[in-house]
């Protein structure tokens, strides 16, 4: 659905995006993460036909971004990270304006405007002035604008920024709903834990380069060379540490406030055996659990260069 081919964007000597290649399949929710200045917004603006590439190209819904601008614009719904609204317009007038801008006939517009307002949960604000809406409501209104012409591809740059926790949960549900409707979504966010929740694939960028990409699970597997296990005991921490250190599957061990954290190189069967050994030794065990890798960890390790 989206295929970025060797995209390069430079401003003088500064290389904003360096030979980026990425493929987003139909009905994917592809999350793009990276620190400020990583090149996420540059990539999104390029995909939205708002930026001339230094070199490279991209296909969106089968159309070339640098050649079939109008077809690409018809295929995408773009939500910028910073956007404004036309003061003095009401919510329905704002959507009506963009519906006309996308060439939707009047006969269909009433239904479409109501449908998208229901989808983003703003139907109760239909007659309100857009400049009177809260930040979160404006985000939802802009999302409604991106949906007004029913595009197959959504390009959402930081759609959850500035939203309160409840609005973020709602945004997540909305994106799931849109994926069910068959939309292909490419989205950026700084809230990594949430991206892991609603994206099936992730790309991590830094300084214009793509550090990792693919399904979330495969990226997490890649950053973990070994499993991590946490053991919490009531007293007897040193005695427990002695038992753990003696096991060949434990490659390293740290201890803090009764919490022992070990890197595990053995099999799952060996881990079960280790757990039994600790219990049989009469250690008052509060918990013994494997810590799952998460996106924050992956992001930090990749951007620090700890993972090749």
């Amino acid at each position: 659905m989206i295929e970025i081919q060797d995209f390069v964007k430079s401003y003088g000597d500064f290389l904003a995006v360096d030979h980026l290649n990425l493929k987003v399949e139909k009905a994917d929710i592809y999350g793009v993460i990276g620190p400020n200045g990583a090149g996420k917004t540059t990539t999104f603006r390029f995909l939205s036909t708002l930026l001339e590439p230094t070199s490279g190209d991209a296909l969106v819904n089968g159309f070339r971004v640098t050649k079939n601008v109008r077809d690409v614009r018809r295929s995408i719904g773009y939500m910028p990270d910073n956007f404004g609204v036309y003061d003095g317009m009401r919510v329905w007038e704002f959507l009506d304006f963009f519906a006309v801008a996308y060439g939707i006939p009047r006969a269909k517009r009433v239904q479409i405007i109501d449908d998208v307002l229901v989808l983003v949960d703003l139907i109760h604000k239909r007659g309100e002035l857009v400049n009177g809406l809260s930040r979160g409501m404006r985000q939802r209104l802009c999302l409604a604008k991106t949906l007004v012409h029913d595009p197959p591809v959504l390009i959402l740059d930081e759609p959850a920024s500035g939203l309160d926790p409840r609005a973020r949960v709602e945004m997540k549900e909305m994106l799931h709903e849109l994926r069910k409707m068959g939309k292909t979504i490419i989205v950026s966010s700084h809230i990594l834990s949430e991206l892991a929740d609603y994206c099936n694939k992730i790309a991590i960028m830094e300084r214009g380069k793509l550090l990792a990409f693919g399904p979330v699970s495969s990226i997490l597997e890649r950053i973990r060379k070994h499993r991590v296990v946490e053991v919490q005991v009531l007293g007897k921490a040193d005695e427990t540490a002695g038992i753990l250190k003696g096991h060949p599957g434990v490659s390293s061990l740290t201890q803090e406030d009764g919490m022992l954290r070990l890197d595990w190189n053995g099999t799952s069967e060996d881990l079960v055996a280790l757990h039994r050994e600790v219990v049989l030794a009469g250690i008052p065990l509060l918990w013994f659990r494997e810590v799952e890798a998460n996106l924050e960890e992956a992001f930090l390790k990749l951007t620090r260069g700890e993972v090749g």
Partner: protein, 529 residues
Amino acid sequence: MLHDNAVLRRELLTMLRGHRAFIMQAIFLIVLSFLVLVAWPMDEDYINLRAERSRTLFKLFAIGELTLVSILAPVFSAGSVTMEKELHTVDLLFTTQMHVFSIFIGKLLSSVVYILFLVMSTLPMLVICFILGGLAASDVLSVYGGLMCVAVLFGLVGLMCSTFFSRTHASLAITYLIVLPMTLVLVLIVTALTSFVPFFWIVLVATVIGAMVMVPLTVRRLSQPFSDVERSAEEERIEDQAGLVLMRDRFPDSLLAPSRRDDLIPDGTNPVLDKEMRFEIFGRGTLLVRLIIQISIGISIFFIPLVFTGHEPIYTCYLLSFVVFITPAFACPSFTQERERGTFDLLLTSLVTPEQVITGKLVAACRCTGVLTAFLSLPMVLGLFKDMTVVDLLRHAAVVGMTIFATAVMSLFFSLFFRTTLVALVVTYLSVLFLYITPALSLKILEVFAGGSPGTGSWLMLTSPFFAAFSVGEWEYQNTFFKTGGIPKEMVWAGFNGFYLLLSLGLLAAMRAGYERFTTGLKAVRMGA
């Protein structure tokens, strides 16, 4: 107060770090050098008359500096507080421990110091004028002292307006509206005086009185919180009672701003035009428009007797001045405001064509200025009861109409080309001044100083709508300042309209050709694919 004033330091650093300061100084010095060069006595008799010529040259030089100061001073002062509001830095500034008066002094000095620097940089040119003799030191000191007072006075006006308005273009437009009549009066004073000493005292007194009125007002406004740039319900009620709010559902206000829709936009409508007319143009300040209308109508009352006495061209010149002033205020924010507000990307990624965007914004700007000018033009109809013919009335209307169209096109062009409204406004005003007044004025200076007709150079006068206005009707313009050398008066009118029609069409074509380059960086040819 001045020592370690953070506002002053920051403003000066920002101002002088960019290339704008250098460009401004270059333009300032080039224009003045051009005036001196044109007016430099070249004829054989100048040795006998050189003291007199020197004084005339110096007077011209002073008028030129005064005009440039009046154009540039509002640029720096009128946006000093509104820019803070627009960039949302006003809360940061006013929650520091700086005293409000320190902020006021910092803002005022930072807007004035650069102008003073510009004025002082013209001293070498003045030394050249001294070669001719006839000037006393008191004259020079008076003119330079007077110009400094003018810079402070206009800086105060701009700063005061900046605290009263939430948008820079509104503040700038009102500042110009106040400053331009004052400049006109000062130019008349300089022209009439034989010595420059009284000029200084007049300006000093005006500045002191102005400061006594404006300083408390400005400081009071600065002490109020600005974070809420939207007008409160109470402010709206007061404006409504004062007749400062447009009644969109009533005639003639409905001509300016159509009332809000109850239903969806009809098919086939240009959405950009609809948006501009209903939400944008008067979203830029109903108060501003009302003030402009009321002040302009007030001034026009003094001009109406001219229509009954066969001096219609003078009334047309008043209308032209109004057009030149008001059109950029409406048209310049067209594209820049979309950028500043962050709505341009939303518009650009829709399927609206560049033609729809450009025509929508152009028609909206022309319609608003046209309707406002039409209100002011009504007294011209009274001329039909005197000696004016319907054809002459239409010819006057054509000159005004073409000026509206050409000014709107130039404003849109610069709005598309530049990123901020302030820069687009300043460049448009300077361009309009350069095209409408400078060539004709230079030729006149050349004619007066060099003697005789400027010959083929006379054709440059076709760029001025003011000369075109004087070419209409039975006005005996060949005996006035507005005589146009050997060019037939019919040719002046036709040449003006033809020139600006071609220029406007050329600019529109350039805007269309460069639309993608200016807005997205994508090459134009790819849009049609």
